[in-house]
């Protein structure tokens, strides 16, 4: 068992996210996180999928993703040089008594405070999963009011890119494209 990070380039067509999500359920894949967003090309979105599994299971997911007509390219990012990031917004209980301590902690983690109120702070922190988890552990004693994480996103370093060359969307279909939702 290991953490597998897969990146998938998909065509922007309505329902693609549902197809991918349905695949996870249908074939019983255990997914830790899935994040989706636009790319530099209007007609493509990119998904980052993280799963805890053995490599046979990860291969099975890759093959099944490829069976989806809208999935253009899939890559294992954990097996090549890549950068991985996740962002969290954490609302930490902080009053005038302990605000300074929280701010110190944020400085150490290079987290940014993006909102302040009398009772709490909202902290924005970006990094690899471990950093985010360490930070949340340390602020937990102050009281985490609520938090949200984006799920991991990743890019291969240097020349490691997902292939989309040669793909030109048909004109009439381009009008119908918007997003994967």
């Amino acid at each position: 068992m290991a953490k597998h990070i897969l990146a998938a380039l998909v065509e922007n067509r309505p329902g693609v996210l549902a197809r991918v999500a349905n695949l996870f359920r249908r074939r019983s894949f255990n997914i830790d996180s899935l994040s989706v967003g636009r790319t530099q090309r209007d007609e493509m979105s990119r998904m980052t999928i993280v799963m805890e599994s053995d490599s046979a299971e990860a291969d099975r997911l890759v093959k099944n993703l490829y069976k989806l007509v809208d999935v253009v390219h899939v890559d294992h990012l954990h097996s090549q040089p890549s950068v991985v990031r996740e962002m969290a917004l954490v609302k930490v209980r902080a009053t005038s008594d302990n605000r300074r301590e929280v701010i110190q902690l944020c400085d150490i983690f290079r987290a940014r405070i993006i909102d302040v109120s009398a009772e709490s702070l909202i902290v924005e922190i970006t990094g690899e999963e471990e950093k985010l988890e360490n930070f949340t552990e340390l602020v937990r004693p102050f009281g985490i009011v609520e938090m949200v994480r984006t799920g991991m996103i990743a890019l291969g370093r240097g020349g490691h890119t997902l292939k989309d060359e040669g793909f030109k969307p048909n004109r009439s279909r381009a009008a119908a494209r918007s997003s994967v939702l």
């Binding site: 998909v10 065509e11 309505p14 329902g15 549902a18 197809r19 349905n22 249908r26 046979a56 291969d59 099975r60 093959k63 099944n64 490829y66 069976k67 989806l68 007509v69 809208d70 999935v71 253009v72 390219h73 989309d164 040669g166 793909f167 030109k168 969307p169 048909n170 009439s172 279909r173 009008a175 119908a176």
Partner: protein, 637 residues
Amino acid sequence: MSDEDAATNREAVSPEAVNPPDGGADAVVLTGAEIVCECLLHEGVDIVFGYPGGAILPTYDALTKYPQLHHVLTRHEQGASHMADGYARATGKVGVAMATSGPGATNLVTGIATAMMDSSPIVCITGQVPTGAIGSDAFQETDVTGITLPITKHNYLVTSIDELPEVMREAFHIARTGRPGPVLVDIPKDVQIQEAEFVYPTEPIQLAGYSPPKTARARQVAAALELIRESERPIILAGHGISMAGANEELAQLAEKAQIPIALTLLGKGAISEQHPLCLGMMGMHGGAEVNHAIQQADLLIALGMRFDDRVTGNLATYARDSRKIHVDIDPSEINKNVTVDVGIVGDLGEVLRQLLDRVERRPNEAWFDRIAEWRADSELREIVRPAEAPQHPAVPEGKLLGAQVIRDLFEFTAGGAITVTDVGQHQMWEAQYYQHERPHSLITSGGLGTMGFGLPAAIGAKMSRPDQEVWAIVGDGGFQMTMMELATAVQERVNVHIAIINNGFLGMVRQWQEFFYEERYNQTPMVNPDFCKLAEAYGIPTVRVTERGQIEEAVNASRAQTAGPTLIDFVVEKEEIVFPMVPAGADLDDMIRRPTPAEFERQQRERAAAAEITEAETTEAEAPAAAAALGSRFGV
């Protein structure tokens, strides 16, 4: 898109189409519904199976302008999807089913799932409520693209008339290429009514995420050849993929050149003639014992276009333990899915087999064939279906008609030349055991999904696509009653399909499981049936009832003499017949429940009689359930 696909598309063009695909003609303004019809013509469609309703009415109205598209009115939308499936399986062409929104669309679902599991190319066109009403729980609205997401190869909700021609073209392309499968196109009513300039798209189909594989990598071919060279007990497992790829000739050549015996999956029947000396017959749960033994004892499995279904492997932990394995399939996700293989090859079977054939070596496997012959001799001893004049197996009940006999005799009296379409259950397994197929696409059966009710409508579809062929629907009394309303369709369309009901008054296969694994509690399996002959008469269908083996020939000949419209024979067979051999679910493939040999059977009879004499009352009641439970636990059910 490959040149090959382009050629298929060109051939498919009908002369009546408004715009020839090579362009030139001026664009015409058509409604969405007319564009659907135009696209069907461009794809070479001649028959559409369907059922009208509100949201698809514009398209039904447009059909009146396209007499080249023959519409078959089914009696239930499930029948339409099964007929399209049967049509597709008999020819390899894409079958088309059409239905309205909501209940029309949901009724297609079983047929779509059936086609998905058996990789059958069909395109389903459904009406949808107008785009503005989608999501509002409008009358007869259902999210059919959502419902069919996991049971289609791909599906579309068309939201603009501008994308309609491309969607239709992609739908057929995806359905028929690669690993074929069902594609659904959901078209809102307003899109069917809107008008647009129609120019049939001529540019190649651009699907960035879809390119079916063709040839195998040289390194993989070399690795496969090496395993074949090193093997002493090789066996080929031939599946549905052989006939779908049209690789029948290459399969025979490979087997002959390297002297490798061939086992067939259920859908693999027809991959090679079952009369071929290297063809062993069917494997799996109700396969030949000699075939299952051969697989378990082999040192090399060469799996071609099959997917190691659990009905074929039995217990995966003990499956062909001592063998190395080569797996060739067009779908990469099948490789290492159920069975881990030594060499996995992704490609078109015809191409890959030609690559292998170039360099495969001729090699004798005499000792291996001798072992298989021994297993076969044992099977023959236990055989229950024998020529009427030969000495019968003592287990044959006096004066009873056996389902297995009916199939064997049907095989004989149709000279093995018919296209047979089965339903699901005991009769299906007897068909697989006793009707020997010689040609590809001559057995049409629901293998993966096991859909009861498939038989009659699929047979109608098959006959309509191959009117020159003799078509028999072999069905059980249970499955027949699930879709027997399609008798009316057969009559209305004058479809010359011969229906053979193997009628034992039971859900026979379920009854068999209850006998073996549920201590003979026959819960909900006995059936009160209508008089099937009177039912046929109500539809004006010629019919006859057969209750003895001696009547089979005359009944079959009388049916065959009818060359217009359907016929029906009600074969009233022994109620408690068992399909032997049987690998219980989850058991090892060679751990089969066998029919006793004549000697074993007679000894069992004597012992039973003796035991009954000694302890008349007390014994059995306490012990029988315990024995049945022991049998059940032994097989892990």
